[in-house]
Symmetry: C2
Subunit: 455 residues, 2 copies
């Protein structure tokens, strides 16, 4: 009987919204500090823009929007026999945004004439996926992406590392930034004589953390790699030490593999460019990242003090706009996982006290004449920037105080006959219980002090 | 060949986003100042939540989301014969949000246990309608709503009027606020002996502005009203003077019509409560507003200096949550039309200069060593809050300056060998062309001066 919302979706109430806005505002400020401009794209894209961009599985997970009007027009009874992807594409010419990267690529191609490259954009919008809902996985969630497109300068990778560092510094979350390079992975596949198996190799190696060395080798065998080739992977998998030591090891390993050497060079350049921040970045040769459009540096960020998987990630792609007819544009991007950051901040109790923009001052309503007096003083308080309410009816005092408590309103102003006659108010501090008689001017001065605004 | 987006949807580039954010932030701040808390609801609602809430026409205009997986399951070939609303409802169990009011009503009922009434919420989110796209009408657009639910106090109406006044004051848009009351309209229908024709009467009267008196009378005749009844409407339609004079006229007219008198009382109470603001509010007896869930005061806002229709509107509804099983909750709300406000601000050239959060300072890139020097200074500038970029590659000077111009970056820093040796930079003011040699500290001090930040 009670109404509900689709599974995998969420309502966000006032307290959650205040925290979410704190997350979005923090990321937004850092993006702006690095010269990124915001764009927004429509929730619905043409299905043709989205289909085929996320693999076969992705096509199934796209939410499709039924055509308006006669949605069966031009569809034969035969075609209506089976709920196929082809039929879905006929019934629906639009789909909901699945990520922010493909719409961005579409945007860059569509608006190419208006853009001055390199184009630095950020985008904070929801995306939708028909995934099976489970803990921490939603069918509607926000992505917070920044990309620089139109340059292959490795300075961009370095800047994204600095952005990651700055954002998590502001959040107070200690993180480990992992970096790797797709060219290193390609070099490895080449080196062991199985360049064609690069996808299998990266998918298997990526799981090392989770399933262990033996299971990874078993998976590689299953993928058709001979024991000798798997043997040759051991130095990579076992490669330890600092990032510098690993780079030196890989440089020797890749002596005759130019692709691999290029990857080593790129990572080294990025680490050199970021300066002291390099100490917080770990070269992880097993880092692969699922998305196949990456072609250069890739990175992933994990919280050190919470077991929650990656909370940010990204990488370089060399031809994302090619699918829309504009080849040759290189780009690099970063994406923050707002939902997981929300969970980490909650788990570690890291929200600043002042995330809320809730009411600071409530005027109790004692009746019509008193309410008129309260409204005038409330107007003055608002002019001074104090978030103010007047209780809308002359309900029982107890009820009005309960309202203040339930909404965590820190100050309540009372003005009955006596106060009105004296042109003043009684201000109650709801935390301490303390009461003070003040003129409207004194009240406003008190609540606009920096200390009071923190509440 | 070039990719596109669905008709009636829009991309928003950096310049538009800065302006839109200015609009949303302004409305948001004023809502917060009046003690409203933000919530967000999912883009997709169960179709059952949405269907039947917007009339038959509205049901057709709902965007429906195709079920995932076997979307034909349980549908017989017979049912597949015609693209009926019933079939659509079988193929789709979810739909896209059509407005913010129905999801809010659903939210209040679903979360009733967690809420302390009265509940003051605001919500700024996109909505989707499968309307025929035309100039100024989109299939995806933002609504900016605030509602107070759980009290019938007319103080809320007064507060919403103050919010309207404050928001448009901040925008610098001169407006006329029109108010009326559904009980006055009901009283009129009752008074002329045709209470059952209230919808026809309000729909016709609502058009007076557009189609004129004769056409309205013709429409009323067509609706089945006898000439005598239409004759009795004349004093209303012709009722002139100030709001106070109109109220006095209506009070006499309604001497024996309690419903109408109640409406007059309510409007009078609101005008009394808002104080001097009453001078900006006009009682317009022909204001009806389309939505049939309104039961008390209704209002609409028009820009005085732009011909663009209403830019905000709202009213009181007495039983919106009743459809979801929670009767007896009265609410009142206001909605700002962000797209039309955008157009008015553009037409009247009212955007403040500082709406942008674009880059303030670009470092020219002269090569690797110079870039390293620039990166260090850029880091210091960002720590001081200056939005800063370093051009990512050592492209030709002309190209880098073109980039600065195209992105309206006000300051460019140049540091070649000479500057590096001297530990300084040359700062170029892109508007005046003036150049100045400064230490990094002097540069940062200059750009963090309030005057520079306005740029």
């Amino acid at each position: 009987m009670k109404p509900s919302i689709p599974k995998g979706t969420r309502d966000f109430g006032p307290a959650e919204m205040a925290r979410r806005n704190y997350i979005f505002d923090t990321i937004r400020s850092v993006y702006a500090l690095y010269g990124f401009s915001q764009i927004e794209t429509p929730a619905m894209e043409n299905l043709s823009t989205l289909m085929g961009k996320y693999g076969e599985e992705g096509d199934k997970l796209l939410f499709k929007v039924l055509n308006s009007g006669d949605f069966l027009r031009g569809i034969s009874p035969d075609q209506l026999a089976e709920a196929s992807p082809a039929l879905a594409a006929k019934l629906c010419e639009k789909g909901l945004r699945y990520d922010l990267t493909v719409p961005f690529a579409r945007y860059v191609v569509q608006h190419h004439d208006e853009l001055t490259l390199p184009f630095r954009r950020y985008q904070i919008q929801p995306v939708w996926r028909a995934d099976r809902p489970q803990k921490g996985r939603y069918r509607e969630f926000y992505q917070c992406d920044a990309d620089i497109v139109g340059t292959d300068s490795l300075m961009c990778e370095a800047e994204l590392m600095q952005i990651v560092d700055e954002v998590f510094h502001r959040f107070g979350i200690r993180v480990c930034i992992k970096i790797n390079n797709r060219k290193i992975l390609a070099g490895i596949a080449e080196k062991i004589g199985h360049a064609d198996k690069i996808v299998d190799i990266t998918v298997a190696i990526d799981k090392l953390d989770k399933i262990g060395l033996d299971a990874v080798c078993a998976e590689l065998t299953e993928a058709g790699l001979p024991p000798a080739a798997i043997e040759q992977l051991q130095p990579i998998i076992a490669c330890g030490g600092t990032s510098d030591e690993k780079l030196a090891t890989m440089r020797r390993y890749f002596a005759d593999t130019p692709t691999g050497l290029k990857g080593v060079d790129e990572v080294e350049h990025v680490l050199r460019t970021v300066g002291p921040l390099a100490n917080a970045i770990e070269l992880d040769l097993t880092l692969a990242r699922g998305l196949n459009y990456y072609t250069g540096c890739i990175f992933e960020v994990k919280a050190l003090d919470a077991a929650i998987g990656s909370i940010a990630g990204g990488g370089r792609y060399d031809n994302l706009t090619g699918i829309f007819g504009l080849p040759g544009l290189s780009g690099v991007g970063i994406s923050f996982g707002a939902d997981r950051i929300y969970d980490v901040l909650s788990e570690l109790d890291l929200y600043p006290e002042a995330t809320t923009t809730a009411t600071q001052l409530l005027f109790v309503n004692f009746g019509e004449a008193e309410a008129a007096y309260a409204l005038r003083t409330a107007a003055a308080a608002r002019r001074a920037g104090i978030r103010t309410e007047v209780y809308p009816s002359a309900a029982k005092m107890k009820k009005q105080m309960q309202y203040a408590n339930a909404n965590a309103i820190p100050y309540v102003a009372l003005a009955g006959e006596e106060e009105m006659a004296a042109g003043c108010l009684t201000l109650k501090d709801m935390q301490s219980g303390e009461q003070q008689r003040l003129t409207p001017e004194q009240l406003i001065a008190k609540l606009t002090q920096p200390a009071a605004q923190q509440v």
